[in-house]
């Protein structure tokens, strides 16, 4: 008993230590290289680097002499492909090899002085650090920095001249808008950060860096506005990120699994987006964004169910006809995507009296000759549709269209003609598919897709009672689900009447004076009151009073 407890205690202690370690943004677990003997001798040091890197083909070591007369030997070390050649040549090699001639003049050669002089007045690159221990050397080297080693000196200079091939900024395909900015995140962290920073020109926007993944050492930036976001929330994000102790985080999708409250829930408790404008809007509501290197998807926490139904477009269109109707339509769409097949099965199996007589006759007429009960028919068609969708997703787009032709012609038309499924069922499946495509949040649509199948079984066995049972199970789950402490169904459950207007509609910008209450922001007021535009006359009258 006691040894076990002690063991648990020790692991806890270890974890706690690791947490504090990774919180100091920077190096993590490269300490194995610290055991290498420190040496000031240039050639020994280069040999050391070469042996650690194991003759990797991208390792470049350029040895040279600083100035002509000083004979101070030095080397520039970098990984090919991660640096900007222009910066290294123009701002490091050229000054050191040619312009550093004057170092000799009037001064006795000693390595520390050369060192000081170089940093102070010779190197014209922007970001320069002086470091000492070996682990930092390798961290910076593999991170893409250029390292200058000078013979006879333990310290080395790190020059940040990172540059690599990136994809051009393009419109995100999954989240396109009719009206609104068309740029999306790319795979390079710095570019993504600049896109957010450009939209939020305030020193309150804070970027905190974390290196996660003991092998990948992927950098993640936690972005928040420190005058709006709840400090408890930011601390919670820090703690959850600090707790991660794993080999590799390849994309933000990996990260989600580690930081969500309930990984087994079909509903995503984080919001993924490629759009910097969405990130900006969410940061302004007091949320925290986690932007990762090597992925265009940024995750935003916390999120609620209804936020996944909001498209960026809603806020760029005219409030009433552009957005309110669309939002109501989406609420209808989630109900259709989740419930329509099961309700169809339940009604045709148990509650035929609910249908108007003429509709009932035409449906039963179309079902005549169909050999399966409604539920089998529904399962066949729904799984076929899911298959088609998966197939279309995996194939390159020219063949993808062929799949849709096969699906539409063979499975739709021919199956009906052959009398295997009824036309009514095809219509139901088609409407369900369209409804599930119209939901902006991909993960929300995915959750509804998964839950559709158990609901069909319940509808087939117990009719509408079964569907209600299934719905209540889902609702109990949703009501108890939390995303970083925020109830997932907020502001509907718990009910926050003030915030409802942004769910069932989209009020004009001047009417949304406060940030959402469930975010418990430091500064709940978004804007001044009385911003409603008035015709000049009535405005004057009011002022005169």
């Amino acid at each position: 008993m006691w040894p076990l407890l002690r063991k648990i205690k020790n692991t806890l202690k270890l974890n706690a230590e690791k947490n504090t370690g990774s919180k100091q943004a920077g190096v993590k677990d490269t300490s194995e290289f610290d055991e290498l003997p420190l040496t000031a001798n240039l050639s020994e040091r280069i040999a050391q680097i070469r042996s650690v890197m194991g003759n990797s083909i991208d390792l470049v070591v350029r040895e040279f002499v600083i100035g002509e007369e000083s004979k101070a030997k030095a080397a520039v070390v970098y990984l090919d492909g991660l640096i900007s050649n222009a910066t290294v040549f123009d701002n490091i090699l050229t000054p050191l090899m040619f312009e550093a001639q004057s170092i000799k003049a009037g001064e006795k050669f000693s390595p520390p002085k050369v060192f000081k002089k170089l940093v102070e007045s010779r190197l014209s690159a922007g970001e320069i650090m002086v470091k000492e221990n070996n682990s930092e050397l390798f961290t910076h080297l593999v991170g893409g920095d250029t390292i200058i080693i000078i013979d006879g000196h333990l310290s080395f200079i790190v020059v940040c001249a990172r540059a690599w091939e990136t994809r051009a900024v393009a419109e995100p395909e999954n989240e396109s808008v009719v009206r609104g900015p068309r740029e999306g995140f790319v795979e390079t962290l710095k570019v993504n950060l600049s896109m957010v920073r450009r939209r939020l020109r305030t020193p309150h926007l804070k970027f905190e860096t974390y290196y996660i993944g003991n092998t990948t050492s992927t950098s993640f930036v936690v972005a928040y506005l420190d005058n709006i976001a709840n400090p408890k929330l930011v601390q919670e994000v820090r703690e959850r990120l600090g707790r991660i102790d794993t080999d590799a985080i390849i994309s933000t999708g990996y990260l989600e699994d580690y930081i969500e409250d309930n990984s087994y829930s079909p509903f995503a408790q984080t919001r993924a987006t490629e759009r910097p404008d969405i990130v900006t809007a969410e940061l302004l509501e007091g949320k925290v964004a986690i932007i990762g290197d090597n992925t265009p998807f940024c995750i935003i926490v916390p999120t609620t169910f209804f936020e996944q139904l909001q498209g960026a477009d809603d806020y760029y269109q005219r409030p009433w006809f552009g957005a309110v109707l669309v939002r109501l339509l989406r609420l209808v769409a989630i109900n259709i995507a989740l419930l329509l097949p099961s309700i169809y099965v339940a009604i045709t199996t148990y509650h035929q009296e609910l249908l108007p007589t003429s509709l009932l006759i035409s449906i039963s007429g179309s079902r005549e000759g169909v050999p399966f009960p409604a539920v089998v028919e529904a399962l066949i068609m729904e799984s076929t549709f899911e298959l088609l969708r998966e197939a279309g997703l995996r194939l390159p787009s020219p063949i993808g269209t062929a799949v849709s032709i096969v699906g539409a012609l063979v499975l739709g038309d021919a199956a009906v003609r052959a009398g295997i499924v009824s036309p009514a069922m095809v219509i139901v499946v088609a409407i369900t598919a369209i409804a599930s495509f119209s939901i902006p949040g991909f993960s929300a649509a995915l959750a509804l897709r998964q839950l559709r199948f158990p609901l069909m079984f319940l509808g087939a066995t117990l009719g509408l009672f079964g569907i209600m049972f299934g719905l209540l199970v889902i609702l109990i789950h949703l009501a108890s689900l939390r995303s970083f402490g925020v109830p997932y169904m907020a502001p509907l459950a718990p009910l926050m009447p003030r915030d409802l207007k942004d769910i069932f509609g989209r009020p004009p910008q001047w009417a949304m004076g406060k940030r959402p209450r469930y975010m418990r922001t430091q500064d709940p007021v978004r804007q001044a009151e009385n911003l409603k535009p008035r015709p000049p006359d009535s405005g004057n009258k009011k002022n005169n009073k």
Binding site: L354, L462, F465, F469, L495
Partner: protein, 372 residues
């Protein structure tokens, strides 16, 4: 403390509303009309007034012990031995009443919609829902209930609006022809439903603002009273007192009359759908009270492990308590009101309050907690 969550005043009020209303709206119009005839609406008003008197009594008791449930403070008031006996009694009362509710629910579904399905299917499914809800705590139930209440009440109002043209005021005439006595008699059974406010004593310690306890109980009773009045008026004005007292579920019969443009017809099954949601809340609250009282009775540190075993027990009890529907209705309209009102809903709380006053137990004023 056993429960970590806190629920707001509004959540508690709505929780009590659905707890009382869910079965009341289906059963009471008929039961009240049997005694009171066309004066059933007066019965509904009297029952609401009675309910408010009861809630004044029980909330006064609760406010003396804002940190405890009735199981705990009955020990404080009566001493360990007698207190445990009273606690055991309440545990039984919650369990038994829950079994009755579940039986009502199953009987209604079997009788009205699915005659071939065995009773145990419906009974166990509603208990599964309750167990799921309880295992995630009181807070999610409070949140979910707000939503269900909106659904429940808006559909009831929707039905009433579409039935206005069927209502005939003549059905209420003559008023008080036989004196006030039938109306008083008709109010007895509804009063026992209103007495279910005693369940508040199990969630009272978890309110964010216990000093506003009166508001919860009285607010809940006013809302329930309003819906009950609408239900009684709707059924009596459409069918007349004789027919209503013959029906088992008069609200369902009225909804059958709705016909919108020959498209929306025969929609009484929708009543079943929202009723399932309402009864789910009711059964969950009762099951919560059962489980919580058992946990406190035996000084357990967590109530969640009890949810499943007691759930199985309540399903078995619900099936074997009664022989059939007739038995159930007889029990509900004759035995239950006397049994519940005289002991657990009014009798024991009144006794506890008097003894607490004499022995000077409990706080006089509820300390104002900080709202956060």
């Amino acid at each position: 403390m056993l429960e970590q969550g806190k629920i707001s005043i509004r959540q508690a009020t709505l929780l009590m509303v659905l707890t009382i209303l869910a079965t009341a709206i289906l059963f009471l119009p008929s039961i009240a009309t049997v005694q009171a005839g066309q004066e059933a609406w007066i019965s509904a008003l009297i029952a609401t007034a009675n309910g408010i008197i009861i809630s004044l009594l029980v909330v006064t008791l609760m406010r003396r012990f804002p940190e405890q449930t009735i199981i705990q403070y009955s020990e404080d008031i009566l001493g360990k031995f007698l207190g445990k006996i009273v606690g055991l009694g309440y545990f039984w009362f919650f369990l038994h009443t829950n079994a009755i509710i579940i039986r009502e629910f199953g009987d209604f579904l079997v009788a009205a919609f699915m005659p071939k399905t065995p009773l145990i299917v419906f009974n166990s499914m509603i208990v599964i829902l309750a167990v799921l809800a309880i295992r995630s705590g009181l807070e999610p139930l409070g949140r979910l209930n707000e939503w269900i209440f909106i659904l429940f009440s808006s559909i009831l109002i929707f039905f009433t609006v579409f039935l206005i043209h069927e209502m005939q005021v003549e059905n209420f005439l003559p008023v008080l022809e036989r004196g006030i006595v039938p109306a008083l008699k008709g109010a007895v059974t509804p009063t026992s439903w209103f007495g279910e406010i005693i369940l508040l004593s199990m969630i009272f310690p978890f309110l964010t603002q216990p000093q506003r306890g009166y508001r919860v109980a009285i607010g809940a009773h006013l809302i329930v009273g309003a819906f009950l009045l609408i239900g009684v008026v709707q059924s009596v004005s459409i069918f007349g007192p004789e027919l209503v007292s013959a029906f088992k579920f008069p609200i369902i019969q009225t909804v059958r009359l709705i016909s919108l443009g020959e498209f929306l017809e025969r929609i009484e099954v929708l009543i079943m759908v929202i009723w399932v949601a309402g009864v789910f809340v009711k059964v969950s609250v009762f099951h919560y009270a059962t489980v919580m009282s058992a946990a406190q009775l035996f000084n357990l540190t967590d109530y969640r492990p009890l949810a499943i075993p007691l759930g199985i027990l309540v399903v078995i009890l619900s099936i074997h308590l009664f022989q059939g529907v007739v038995d159930l209705v007889e029990f509900l309209s004759v035995t239950f009101p006397v049994y519940a009102l005289s002991t657990f809903e009014v009798g024991i709380p009144a006794l506890l309050l008097v003894i607490a006053l004499i022995r000077g137990k409990g706080a006089k004023n509820v300390p104002n907690k900080k709202n956060n």
